[in-house]
Symmetry: C2
Subunit: 410 residues, 2 copies
């Protein structure tokens, strides 16, 4: 694997404030990678509520099965994440591994096993030796600190070229709450599931059912609207924790009127993290933002936007800085959604390249070429049928994607 | 564009016999390419019946619209095909072009306009200047000969690296009929439509409705079971002609009992042509044959097979000769079809790599590596749920695909 950092990496990173009630520790267990951290332990104070969204894969990993069970308790005290091995398609041994890890974490933190959450990311199908890190969880729990967010984001990376984290502060009623988030993901990224891995924590007091509603809603325009390769991981896991350390009457319902700013802040945070994932798409040289408007419904717009953002021919054209809007028409046509060829208009950036089903009379190749040199390529299609719209974030398809994925295991 | 021929090109080509009632001519009109033929005229004797299957795109090309209309006549006398420009997304001018071309062809051949069929392939969105070739159709009709099949296959190529043609002879009742076919296609190839372009002709006497049934059936395991990049063309057109020159009582229904061998021969011919298209997939270095068995239904097996064959991560792994069956599990899981992780078994070639939801205890990396060096990679998944099965043909994803599609227009 190359050590090159994506040209789309953030140029500056936010300060990550502490979240009262959350402590973090990382360790280097040598699961697959050498000379880097690959285990993360999050320790959560008693009283922390939890929400989660997981892959829709019919073949989920053992940790996903485990988390779905734990989620029923509504309470979280520990999260163990390892990178390098996904513990997916590992059969009975996979379940033994999650049991052993959860038991070790519960002992280390002093909680019930159904308050432990697990996530693993990396190669599928290889047995994961939990012995490698189960033994260090006790030490990690003892040394965990509140300021470990950046390190946590680094420990969960696989083919990521940069750590992904973000933070927002919002008013919730009279008080101020903080929301921190980290994420990882670079390949095997497609929407209609959670994401690869992302962990969000807030010090607000929000009961699990309300937290679950907020998270499920915020995931739609963010992690469920990104795609790198249209491939859905067996391990996609998005967990959110609310420690309740802020001095406030707990939110018990998602329609609590104090949530306005919190909801907007959570959306902003998740879109930020999701775009960081899309921009670190394996081999990506450009981000692609596809907006469909004028569709019969938002759902229809989303399906068309995904068809465009997932099209290998659109993605390679963007990589080649070719404003090949014919391929955009192709992708709109193949989506199977209502579309009228002779009403379509298409923009690359702010340049309209097609209108009324044919090339814009004012089309300028030179002007369009300038747009295609940018790092962020905005493709906009107006269908002229209704009021549905949606935006999807993806990236281009380069030779580097083929290189990275042609020799991942070796 | 490189002049390199795919490593998967056929090592030998069949002799193409004449089809009584079919004459062919090609010309170099300089539509996009230099120093090669780019126009094909097929001249069909009076009494020729016709069937057709077209793209399911919501944004079809002007020639597809035109053919759908002509098909209603049930009669075919002329086919005009050009390569280099798809006449797709060209609005009113596109329709004027099809009108002009069809009128010129009808004059040249001496038939009605609704007995003319048109197909165009190449760049989308550029106006096609029919004047470039409409004027030469008269000469072409006068000089067309029965032995032009190989030349016809070459004239319709775009990014294809080799011409695609095949022929079978079959008994139909007491007599022998011949079926010839040509095809083109290399990128923007995905199933659930016809294909790129393919033209089939037989000297058998089969009425249009029966011919349509036979074609619609034969397209399912052939052109509708291949994929190069999951992208669906706006121009996919498969036309079949029956000249009725064989001395036989005409077939009027698809359930005519004389059709047994004909039906099998047509299936064989279309699978042959479809695999030639898959093997010429842009940048392909290996053919991938994905067979799913033990599914709840054939339709379910097909959807899973397509998810595997279209997965960029599976395709890049094959390109890298990496038996990464974890990615096969991922693709099975994302298909959204019934599957039980813990009952899956997976083979690469004849080597079983996974069984009962985990790595095969007898797994040998060395043995599997040998399989991955082959030109044809067979991936087989047994789901253990039912009796549904399907096979899909695709190809790997290499850096050459990115190169070819990053600078197609320029």
């Amino acid at each position: 694997m190359s050590d090159a950092v994506s040209p789309l990496a953030p140029t500056s990173y936010p300060e990550m404030p502490d979240i009262a009630g959350v402590r973090l520790a990382t360790a280097a267990a040598g699961i697959k990678y050498r000379n880097r951290t690959d285990v993360l332990l999050m320790v959560l104070d008693a009283g922390t509520s939890v929400a989660g969204v997981f892959t829709t894969s019919r073949c989920p990993s053992a940790p996903v099965d485990f988390c779905r069970e734990s989620l029923k308790s509504g309470s979280a005290r520990a999260v163990v994440v390892n990178s390098g091995n996904a513990n997916a398609f590992t059969g009975k041994r996979g379940r033994e591994t999650t049991e052993l890890t959860a038991r070790s974490a519960a002992q280390a933190v002093g909680c019930r096993m159904d308050e432990v959450f697990l996530a693993s990311t990396g190669v599928i199908g290889e047995p994961l030796d939990a012995g490698k890190f189960a033994g260090v969880l006790g030490d990690m729990a003892a040394t965990a600190t509140a300021d470990g967010w950046e390190g946590a984001a680094s420990a969960i990376m696989t083919t990521d070229t940069y750590p992904k984290f973000a933070s927002v502060q919002v008013k919730i009623g009279e008080v101020t709450a903080t929301i921190n988030g980290i994420a990882k993901g670079s390949g095997m990224i497609a929407p209609d599931m959670a994401t690869m891995l992302s962990f969000i924590a807030t010090d607000a007091a929000i009961a699990s059912p309300a937290l679950q509603s907020l998270l499920a809603e915020a995931v739609q325009p963010s992690f469920n609207s990104i795609t790198v390769d249209g491939d859905t991981s067996t391990s996609d896991t998005l967990l959110m924790f609310a420690t309740g350390k802020v001095d406030m009457a707990p939110v018990t319902h998602a329609d609590d009127e104090r949530l306005g700013e919190f909801r907007a802040g959570l959306h902003r945070l998740l879109v930020d993290l999701a775009r960081q994932v899309a921009r670190d798409g394996e081999g990506a040289s450009k981000e692609i933002c596809v907006t469909i408007s004028g569709a019969e419904s938002d759902a229809s717009a989303k399906r068309i936007a995904l068809a465009v953002a997932n099209s290998p021919l659109v993605k390679t054209a963007v990589a080649g800085e070719d404003a090949n809007w014919g391929r955009v028409v192709m992708a709109v046509g193949k989506a199977g959604e209502p579309a009228d060829r002779d009403r379509l208009a298409i923009w690359f950036g702010d340049v309209r390249v097609a209108v009324d089903g044919e090339r814009d009379p004012a089309y300028s190749e030179a002007e369009t070429s300038q747009v295609m040199k940018r790092d962020e390529i905005e493709i906009r299609v107006e269908l002229g049928l209704g009021t549905g719209s949606w935006t999807v974030y993806g990236c281009d398809l380069t030779k580097a994607y083929v290189t990275i994925n042609g020799d991942y295991r070796s």
